[in-house]
């Protein structure tokens, strides 16, 4: 009986094995094809300007944003505070935060390191870093902490990298101000410029029921810098040196006093 069962099970097991192998092969093949579709964004990128476009990547300007009354009040209050002195977050060595970081980061270049499970974006200005997690690396919602760049989850749709950013803190100190309810979706794809150069195009859509009456969209283009390098940017160094100079002056003054 046992023998019969075994004899009957063997063809079944063999069939199951064949099906499983085929499925695995299909999965691996499709995964390989998907990986082959995904472009490698690794490298250094700087602001791309369309031929004939003024330098600066079209920063600022544009149509007025569809701000809610709440947002208008908060932004007006903030501007009344800083306009007399011209203070900015960067003046205090604070990074731009999303979406300002992905829309230009003060005109400085950025560097992308791409792995299947995580993409690192380093913006030279203020050494601002974004981590885009993919697949199993995506942090569960309950374990995320809010911040100026929020939490970014990525996925590939063909050759387009789709990044969704949530868990942002309210920021009235950038052009695209937003509340902590903001949700930003970036869609990255590669194009070729007129000289055959690689251009990374980022289409951004931000929705925020507290700050905006309609989705806000923007496009940022980055040109690849062949064999480019980011430079160090220790923003706090200037303040530290000035602080030491002040301490030296005080110490010199104290020494003079003690001589008297």
């Amino acid at each position: 009986m046992k023998l019969e069962e075994t004899m009957q099970q063997r063809p079944l097991a063999a069939s199951c094995w064949q099906v499983a192998t085929s499925l695995l092969a299909c999965f691996l093949l499709s995964a390989t094809e998907a990986a082959a579709q995904q472009p490698d964004l690794t490298g250094v990128w700087t602001t791309y300007n369309e031929p004939g476009q003024a330098a600066g990547g079209g920063r600022g300007g544009g149509p007025p944003l569809p701000l809610t009354d709440v947002a208008k009040r908060k932004i007006a209050t903030y501007r009344a505070l800083v306009e007399p002195t011209g203070d900015t977050p960067g003046g205090f060595c604070l990074g731009t935060g999303m979406p300002g970081s992905m829309l230009g980061s003060g005109g400085y270049p950025m560097e992308i390191h791409q792995r299947p499970e995580q993409i690192m974006i380093v913006y030279e200005a203020h050494n601002e870093v974004r981590r885009v997690y993919l697949g199993n690396r995506i942090v569960p919602e309950a374990d995320r902490l809010p911040g100026r760049n929020g939490h970014s989850s990525g996925r590939w749709e063909g050759n387009t990298l789709v990044v969704e950013t949530t868990h942002l803190v309210e920021q009235v100190d950038q052009r695209y101000a937003h509340s902590d309810r903001a949700r930003i979706v970036e869609r990255y794809h590669l194009e070729k410029g007129p000289k055959g150069e690689s251009v990374l195009v980022a289409d951004m859509t931000m929705t925020d029921p507290v700050f905006y009456t309609a989705p806000v969209t923007a496009v940022k283009k980055w040109a690849q810098v062949p064999n480019g390098h980011l430079l160090p940017y220790e923003c706090a160094e200037e303040g530290w040196i000035k602080h030491l100079e002040e301490l030296e002056k005080k110490a010199a003054g104290a020494a003079k006093e003690s001589v008297r």
Partner: protein
């Protein structure tokens, strides 16, 4: 003289960068003034280079402190390590302070070895535009 020719792209980009992270209300970026002096102090840092020049002019002899574009922007506009040393005689191109006092925001420099680095100011770009129009 070895001259590093800079694109207007870089110039405007550098100005945009300045606006992005620094309060610049005290500087007049519509003007560009050339000031020559001996370097007493120079620190190539971000977000703003620090410079003290010993200057002799019609107002007398004194030390003037300047700040300027970030080292990173200057690097991409031709600056390299050791181009400026204490004791060098250099010329800086600055956006002067609006109140007319000593100092300013360094946008470019001509070093003792004849290397010019930095961005052309809006005033310089405007002068070049007018010159080009005059030549038409």
């Amino acid at each position: 003289m070895k001259t590093i020719v800079l694109s207007s792209v870089l110039a405007v980009l550098a100005c945009a960068t300045l606006a992005a992270h620094h309060s610049a209300v005290q500087f007049d970026f519509g003007k560009s003034t050339a000031i020559t002096g001996v370097v007493k102090k120079f620190i190539a840092i971000n977000p703003h280079m620090q410079l003290v020049l010993h200057v002799k002019d019609a107002k007398g002899e004194r030390d003037i402190a300047f700040e300027g574009h970030s080292t990173n922007n200057m690097y991409r506009a031709g600056y390299r390590d050791n181009l400026i040393k204490v004791g060098d005689t250099i010329t800086v191109y600055v956006a002067p302070l609006k109140d007319g006092s000593d100092g300013g925001y360094v946008t470019a420099a001509l070093t003792a070895s004849g290397v010019r680095f930095g961005a052309r100011s809006r005033a310089e770009l405007e002068q070049e535009r007018l010159k080009a129009e005059g030549q038409k």
